[in-house]
């Protein structure tokens, strides 16, 4: 399992990513892609409703691709196929601003220390680091800037409303 930083702390990673249906297991905490969910909707629907299933959005998907009832998912993961693929930031921001999802928003894929700060500002609270060796350094990567011009997940008001 990749190392997990959650709420700025190193924590146990309980959720397994299921990117392909062959990896799907009967039980256990799993985060599944929308494809896998749709292919196994009958069995996964209840799990989702019981808050026992997470969902994974790929970077070319958006909040409109989420299945009905997604708000019950305890975790929604957004994939970064490369750290330079910035679509995940907008997807996270949409989830934060346009849906009532209140669970954990997790960045997975090519997640590096130097992007944690911006990811958190877009609404991510959990991060699967691609390099386990980085886990001990992650904590200090969040407080890079004490001020921001824009509204973000941590601060309701932009500079001109403060």
């Amino acid at each position: 399992m990749p190392k997990l930083i959650k709420n700025r702390k190193l924590q146990d990673n309980e959720w397994k990513l299921v990117r392909d249906e062959s990896e799907l297991e009967q039980s256990g905490k799993q985060i599944v892609t929308i494809d896998v969910y749709q292919a196994h909707e009958a069995e996964l629907k209840d799990k989702l409703a019981r808050a026992e299933l997470g969902l994974l959005l790929k970077s070319d998907q958006g909040i409109d691709d989420l299945p009905q009832g997604f708000e019950s998912a305890p975790v929604i993961a957004i994939d970064f196929p490369a750290f330079t693929d910035g679509r995940g930031y907008s997807i996270a921001r949409d989830l934060l601003r346009y849906t009532s999802f209140k669970g954990e928003l997790r960045a997975v894929g090519d997640v590096l220390l130097d992007q944690l700060h911006s990811m958190e500002r877009c609404g991510f609270s959990a991060f699967e680091l691609v390099d386990a060796a980085d886990a001990s350094k992650a904590e200090k990567c969040f407080d890079v800037f004490s001020e921001k011009y824009q509204r973000d997940a941590l601060q309701e008001k932009p500079v001109y409303q403060r």
């Binding site: 910035g86 679509r87 992007q115 911006s118 001109y160 409303q161």
Partner: protein, 552 residues
Amino acid sequence: MYQYNEFDQRIINERVAQYREQTERFLAGEISPDQFLPIRLQNGLYIQRHAPMFRIAVPYGTLNTKQLRKLASISRNYDKGYIHVTTRQNFQLNWPALEHVPDILEELASVQMHAVQTSGNCIRNTTSDQFAGVSSEELEDPRPYCEIIRQWSTFHSEFHFLPRKFKIAVSAAKNNDRAAVRVHDIGVYLVEKNGKRGFEIYAGGGLGRTPVVSPLIHDFIEKEDLISYLEAIVRIYNKLGRRDNKFKARIKILVRSMGVEKFKALVDEEWERTKDSELKIPQAEFDRISAFFKDPEYKVLSDDPSILTDTLASNPDFKRWHRQNVFPHKKPGYAAVVISLKKTGVAPGDLSDFELESIADLADEFSFGEIRNTHDQNMVLPYVEQSALPKVWEKLVLLGFATANIGLMSDIICCPGGDYCSLANAKSIPIAEQIQRRFDDLDYLYDLGPLNLNISGCMNACGHHHVGHIGILGVDKKGSEFYQVSLGGSSKEDASLGDIIGPSFNADEVSDVIEKIIDVFLENRTEGEPFLYTYRRIGMDPFKEAVYAKAH
């Protein structure tokens, strides 16, 4: 001009500390070169042919003398004692060491300067009219809106990894666009409709490999909605712009492939959700920012003081300079003076540490301590009393900055080219020099009228060759440097892209070719007609015939 408050200063200081730590981790091997790439780019640092190249932001081209002196000392202490003005009103250093960049950034921060987002796939420095705030052609000073855009786009957490770079330009003089608005990813004109001021928004323009003049996306955005509308455009682009091919990743490709109507509809749909959000700019914020751009303490003066008219009557060199390099001002008795960085034999836009300091002295004495960079790689003293013009001219002559060629053919826009840039296919600076040497008679150039000649050393088009009335593009043919010539480009409000005349030329043929083009122009021009209009009227054929005549 805008002054940092404690908040702005803290952000910039924290950025320097962040980059210092990142550079240390890179040098210790903890960050891979690929991972460090976007980090250093968004701090202005490229790795170039001979050394790193470091780009320093000059927000909308406005700077003060304290900053100019700091740049002089930085270029002396960390580089080879000179600096380069870019086509986006920024500065570039050509020889800094990677390890010194954190120190350079710290020095810049001490005078409210930075290199934030001057490169990389993010929102770059917003550019504007070099005569902003002093031109009588504009509705109002566009710089407060530029500053609002600067703050919104600085470290916007959502937009650090766009598909490709993103450039915004703003002009408040739609009838005389000096900011090349229509060849930007987003172009903004301040306009007045039905007695109300707001913005006309264009999107999807740009130069590079696939040049596009931007289409109109919205004909009137209320002032308070500026940021929500821009953000909607950038968000749609971030989600849908191509990421599989670097050469098709600019917003112009997205707009073109989905069609303007579809793009507009998506932007509007997004905008509907955000226009009444926190992005609505309160009047208090407009007032706060505008206060930084208040007029300086002008004296009450009249136009054409006798010392000016007398010198004009008695000194033909001064008269020539005044005619070409001095621009009208909204305040009676004042003028804006363009400092020509286009002297023959000097790379266009280059100036030394000593020259920077001399310009700072001039600005302190004659222009309320303020200077502008222009997108055509010159500088401006924006507030000169007309009675001081003879004195300013004398000093500029001594410095070699009084070449009376602004807007004329030897006022060449030119990229660093193969002498410096690792992307270039061909050298561009020696071509500029060759043309300047051939056409060195200022009266002849004046008679030719307004003529923009732009040179790029490769198809990335940093020298804006597509929008030169005459454009020259360096190309590589089997390992040799050749030059393709195009005619009829314009970066003004009637923007157009040049048409390629035909097969490319050897380096030593270029000025002969230009001369033949000029001859055709002179044979066909109606009295006083500018080159661009003659070309638009008579078309390519006569030029083509003359240029390739020998081959028949």
